[in-house]
Amino acid sequence: MKYLTTIGLEVHVQLRTRSKMFCACGTGFGAPPNTQVCPVCLGYPGAMPVMNEEAIRLTVMTGLALGCAIPAFSKFDRKSYFYPDMPKNYQISQYDCPLCDGGAVEFESGGQGRRVRMVRIHLEEDVAKNMHFPSFSGVDFNRAGVPLMEIVTQPDMGSPEEAMDFLLALKQTLSYLGVSDCNLEEGNVRCDVNCSVRPDGQEELGTKTEIKNLNTFKGVFHALRHELDRQVDVLESGGRVTQETRRWDADQGVTYSMRSKEDAHDYRYFPEPDLMPVELDAATVGEWRAAIPELPGARRARLTAEYGIPGYAAGVIAADRAVADYFEAAARASKNAKAVSNWVMTEMLRLLGERGMTIGNARVTPGALARLVSLVDSGVVSSTAAKDVFAAMFESGGDPDALVREKGLAQVSDASEIEAIVDRAMEENPKSVADFMQGKSAAAKFLVGQVMRLSRGKANPKLVNEILERKLGAE
């Protein structure tokens, strides 16, 4: 039987704010345990939360970028449950009046345009980190109280692949907005997924399960694939899927049951009395809306239209706002945007990837790249030699003209100079010349290679071909 899949996501995103959500503690990653703490984020008696306005702004900006409605009234609530990573044993979150309602993410998946609707976006505080040692456990509260934005989607995704593409598109948008570093290694983005399967033709959705706390996109993909297979197996063998919360074990590659619906938490939400409701006036929201930058989809379209580069290249370049900024700076300084896009997509991204760097600390300036492209186009350097120049600039910066001079990489386009090298190559390889005479055209290629070798790659290949052809024809 064929089965249909339904997937919904809850994405928790750590916001990029200097201080925590309700206190002045810093949010830096990797500090020694319990060094970014105070009475507020440790839940000391008498300590009270104070709202971080920047967290509100970043959340609302995200909502505006995703087309959410921004209600004029929003409030915070206490969500109660006991766990050692919760300093107060309640989390300040938002229950029935979130900052953002509705909205959607549009993206491409499997070559098709998709649209995943949002339920809501709300703001809450992150919890601490439990750490287990051989004889005891500890809690690091550095992360406790860091602002966390929770994006809840409708169950609009039909496959793990689509969920993955959604997450990548969402991550691109969040990065463009600058609301989060979206650093997966540092746990900036964490997902809860829920999914169900139903036989093709059945209207009603199947029973869903939830998998909590997936902190890589790959984890989301594999956990979903495994869990959906498991649900199909259960149905195929005549069983019924239980509504429950499961956990993904990445090492074993399986999900296992954490708790069933029956022992689900009763969070006993009620309005947080220590905080005033958030009332946003239209002028403030308008100001924030005006500050939203061009988003990835729009930029992709514009790069194609404005610079005439192929859609694929525009997609790769627009995926990262800084890369796109770099490309545009270089393309504007150049007459050959397509060549610039090729350099960015291939050499630049490859080298950055190899070194684990971002384009922000690349030493090749956009101007230098534009100049290098023009050196190739005007025949001053061969494209092979240009790669050496690029690599040199990537290592230590510098000006392409100077590097070409220093390294003696300028292309030889002087016909008499090339003629002399061709003569030398023919003298040194009489057998190849003879082979050519007997009709073995491949021998010509060999001779071209010899000329290039003798010229240390600097001979203009077009001239080499012309001269060699002429000389062989005269033999």
């Binding site: 009475p39 440790l42 839940g43 000391y44 008696p45 008498g46 300590a47 009270m48 939360p49 104070v50 709202m51 206490r78 109660s80 006991f82 766990y83 050692p84 300093p87 107060k88 044993n89 309640y90 809690v139 009763d266 006993r268 939400y269 009620f270 009395p273 220590d274 905080l275 005033m276």
Partner: protein, 490 residues
């Protein structure tokens, strides 16, 4: 100056004496400490007195003596065990906070210190401010200085008893449902519950966040006004604090009388269940106000009968979350022998909390539970709105209201321990001000035949402290000096 003279100073005279050099802060603090040593064993108002620390603070105050030293420079005050004072324990009269020392000053305390005040000791209370008798304390009960067989009221019973017995010139309490006004009434001192948000709650260990207010307990109304003025005003650390500080007591207040003022007598506050002696004392006080020029009018607060139910639902709901943090993980007492986190919570909380606290946490957890939220918590919020509107309407007809503080004078020790409902019902006349967020003052207005003090409650609208304090000051002046407690056995 002899010791008794020190102990009878009001705050302004005490501060003026230090400034002028009539005496040093050290002499003043030593006199207060001597009073504590002499009288506190009989009433047990204090749970923590660090004499060396108090004298160090006094010496520091003496060192900065002069006009710039602050309005309370060198003046000792006591604080309820629920307020955080850096370096001091803050046990909230609970076993669960054993060993906890506060790492910071509550804003109210910091503001008193900024004016030079000396924090002389910490006073007893009902555990986590839950109770009306100061019997629910890990330290045992505080006794009423007027009669050692009676309770001092609660939950700020230690502060009220300390001020009434002149062991402290003034003390801070907290009032969630009457916890400053009722003990003031039971002990014959002045107690002010400011409007919600008037004094920052930062550093006040929370019982019910939407109802809690810090309030001063003093020997006279002007001292209460001074402390309010110093502690009030916007605090960036408490988002619910209101911007402007409350006005300071004016010397003309008492002299101006009450001419042109309309004082309301809420009909529902003089109904069945009110002890006739209490009713008589309060009516006599109202007549005294009329003699000062006030016009008395009857007003109605028709939703009063629902107040107790609404109060105990909202307060316990908030408490169930506020007290969740006491789990033995980060501070305070941790139970031994736990096998996992949940076992740790269960043991720590079972051993650490007293019966009344457990009762309220369970009640609060219940009313917030899924399926019950609408019936209890939501309904209670609706009642709260109705009560607020009652007051708004009534304050359209009068400037302030006069009422009893509690239906009776001080209970006998143990009288309500087996019948918590009786204790809850005794809060009927005070919880409404907390539900509505308005201000209220308790001023001693008489003694029962048994020689127990009775308080007059002056209620004012939200941020109407000036009116309430004016009425209190004018009445207090007309009343003349209130008798001193004589102590004695039951």
């Amino acid at each position: 100056m002899n010791r008794e003279a020190f102990q009878c100073l009001d705050l302004r005279s005490a501060a003026a004496g230090v400034v002028s050099g009539d005496f040093t802060s050290r002499e003043l603090v030593e006199a207060m400490l001597a009073g504590i040593i002499e009288r506190d064993p009989a009433i047990r108002a204090f749970v923590h007195v660090d004499a060396d620390d108090a004298l160090r603070q006094a010496d520091a105050a003496d060192a900065r003596r002069g006009p710039g030293g602050g309005r309370l420079n060198g003046v000792p005050v006591a604080v309820k065990d629920v307020l955080n004072v850096a370096g001091q324990p803050c046990g909230c009269a609970s076993r669960i906070l054993e060993g906890y020392r506060a790492p910071y000053d509550a804003t109210a305390v910091a503001r008193l210190r900024r004016e030079g005040a000396v924090v002389v000791g910490r006073t007893n209370m009902d555990e986590f401010a839950m109770g009306s008798t100061t019997e629910n304390s890990v330290h045992g009960p505080t006794l009423n200085p007027w009669n050692h067989g009676r309770v001092p009221g609660g939950s700020s019973g230690g502060s009220a008893a300390a001020v009434a017995s002149r062991e402290a010139l003034a003390a801070l309490g907290s009032d969630t449902g009457g916890s400053v006004r009722q003990p003031a009434s039971f002990c014959g001192c002045v107690g002010l519950k400011p409007s919600y948000g008037r004094i920052s709650r930062y550093g006040l260990t929370a019982y019910a966040s939407s109802l809690d207010q810090i309030g001063p307990l003093t020997t006279n109304v002007r001292d209460a006004a001074l402390l309010l003025n110093i502690m009030s005003g916007r605090d960036p650390l408490d988002s619910t604090s209101v911007p402007d500080p409350a006005p300071c007591a004016d010397d003309g207040w008492a002299a101006a009388g009450l001419k042109g003022m309309k004082l309301g007598l809420p009909r529902e506050y003089f109904g069945a269940g009110l002890d006739p002696e209490v009713a008589w004392a309060v009516r006599a006080a109202a007549d005294a106000c009329a003699a000062l020029g006030a016009e008395l009018v009857e007003v109605a607060l028709p939703h009063t009968e629902y107040a107790i139910a609404a109060y105990y639902i909202i307060a316990t709901a908030e408490a169930s979350a506020n007290l969740a943090r006491f789990d033995g993980v980060r501070y305070g007492r941790r139970a031994d022998g736990a096998s996992d986190p949940y076992d740790l919570y269960t043991r720590t909380r079972a051993e650490g909390f007293g019966a009344e606290v457990k009762r309220r946490i369970i009640l609060g957890t219940y009313v917030l539970s899924s399926g019950y939220y609408e019936a209890y918590y939501r309904s209670a919020q609706k009642v709260r709105t109705l009560i607020r509107r009652d007051f708004e309407r009534a304050f359209g007809q009068c400037d302030a209201m006069l009422a009893p503080v509690a239906p009776t004078a001080a209970y006998r020790l143990g009288e309500t321990t087996d019948d918590p409902l009786k204790m809850y019902l005794g809060d009927i006349l005070t919880v409404t001000a907390n539900l509505a967020g308005i201000c209220g003052l308790s001023v001693p207005c008489g003694l029962t035949d048994d020689g127990l003090p009775v308080g007059l409650q002056v209620l004012g609208p939200f941020l109407g402290e000036e009116r309430v304090l004016r009425v209190g000051a004018a009445y207090e002046t007309a009343r003349g000096p209130f008798p001193e407690p004589h102590g004695g056995a039951a």
